[in-house]
Symmetry: C2
Subunit: 291 residues, 2 copies
């Protein structure tokens, strides 16, 4: 069976393993801390690749940042990685083909091929973490847009500049639906700028009224975003992944969206592919697009 | 050259003409008032079709309402047409193939093939009239979604139930960006529930401060929606069509969106295909999909 070296480059760690064309790990997943400069990142990747490249058909890299339509280059800057990261020429890492894709797109592809969205040709996977990532699948293909950057969940949920988003605009979906969005909602409700996302979750476990309200408002904001996306895309299903998705009631979201949608009913699922969905997804996508 | 009978069924009138595969009219466009019941609509269409069907390769109908992925059936109800309209079996109109598509999707396809978005593989056409219609083109194909209903511009611009939308949800883009949205914005600014869209436009021509402010707020709301859509779709261009688009400054919208987008720069154009874009578009789409 064919296989690839899968690598996931995140802001805090780089994970890698050899993955076959059915998405199975052929060795243990290795993790190392993400270096602080782009040159160190390149050298680290070169070392990882040189150990494995003779055993695999190609190298597949899931990365933060938008990736071009040729799957060769990062085209958008990413706040969590060092400056100049997007100038790395990944093709220099190996004599074998190096295939790259955005990590949220890769995770969405893994959910589509093997996970919660398996069997559905149209799905939107929202990765709810510190921020919000997404991957949109239409008729079995990733929505990439003209340059490859499509799928940014920066549409506005307010009109009057209430909450600054990391992107420089105000009131994007990400500024409400992310873990950081939950924190900001809690700051407003508690009237305490020092409260953290972790504290909100802990207080909610102890039935603190304000914390429960913050989670309720946060979930409602996620719900409004999903309703809008279902009206735009008329998709088969939504998959919620990432560190924050465990705090979401998918059934409640699905019921509200299906009550209000002007297209047709959709489904809302918890993700199934776990922490390595990006690594698995980029390998599967590489096999589908390179063959 | 091949040709089709193009028909556009709107809430107030039915327009029709014979159109060739390059989008040229081969006779004058005829218009009649839309009858009040679904049976009368069917009989009227049957009469129109019987006169022309021997001269054409197929019948192409642009209609209000969502149309299924097989282009045979209206699947969503439409407020402007009689009850039961969606149960009309259009295939019974002719022994020739009857091809139908949503009117806003058809208009978008006309702009893509022959109009303002010609030469761009990715575009979003927003029809700004009493409501907002849209058609989304991705890699040269209409976005239809799982059932055919995709492209509804009912994503939320506010979170706290400020303005009821025609769809039953609150604060959809349509409730702000449409002609009716302009009226509602003006009602708030003038604090006068009797003001009409027409009056706002007339007052603005006379430099009435409140009317100009209403138009400015309305255009800003359209801009925020387009910014969000460009972040989701990373599209080549937006085309604004419909009766209200003449009051929009496309350059201002484009500049703001390109300053703030997190994907890549886009373009914002006025439509070029005129009042019969739906009729022309559904003929062109029929030729592309039936061949």
């Amino acid at each position: 069976m064919k296989k690839a070296l899968g690598i996931d480059i995140g802001g805090t760690k780089i994970s890698y393993a050899i993955v076959d064309e059915e998405g199975n790990f052929l060795n243990e997943v290795h993790k190392i801390k993400t270096p602080k400069t782009k040159d160190e990142i390149f050298d680290t990747l070169a070392c990882i690749v040189s150990e494995a490249e003779n055993d695999v058909d190609f190298i597949a890299i899931a990365t933060a940042g938008a990736v071009n339509n040729e799957n060769t280059k990062v085209i958008g800057s990413t706040a969590n990685l060092p400056s100049g990261y997007k100038d790395i020429d990944f093709s220099l890492l190996s004599n074998k083909k190096v295939f790259i894709e955005n990590d949220a797109n890769s995770a969405a592809y893994a959910e589509y091929k093997l996970g919660a969205a398996k069997g559905y040709n149209n799905s939107i996977t929202l990765t709810l973490g510190t921020g919000v990532g997404s991957g949109i699948i239409i008729n079995g293909k990733l929505l990439k847009g003209k340059s490859g950057a499509a799928g940014e969940m920066h549409f506005m949920l307010e009109r009057n500049e209430k909450r600054l988003c990391t992107c420089g605009s105000y009131d994007c979906f990400e500024a409400y639906a992310s873990g950081n969005g939950l924190r900001k909602t809690a700051v407003e409700i508690f009237n305490d700028s020092s409260i953290t996302t972790y504290e909100v979750i802990e207080k909610a476990k102890n039935n603190d009224k304000n914390a429960l309200l913050a989670l309720e408002v946060w979930q409602k904001d996620i719900t409004l975003g999903i309703l809008g996306l279902n009206n735009i895309f008329d998709t088969d299903c939504f998959v919620l992944s990432g560190s924050m998705e465990q705090f979401v009631d998918t059934k409640k979201i699905e019921d509200f969206v299906n009550l209000k949608t002007v297209t047709t009913k959709t489904k809302v699922f918890h993700a199934k592919m776990g922490n390595y969905s990006g690594m698995i997804g980029v390998v599967l996508l590489g096999f589908d697009l390179l063959n």
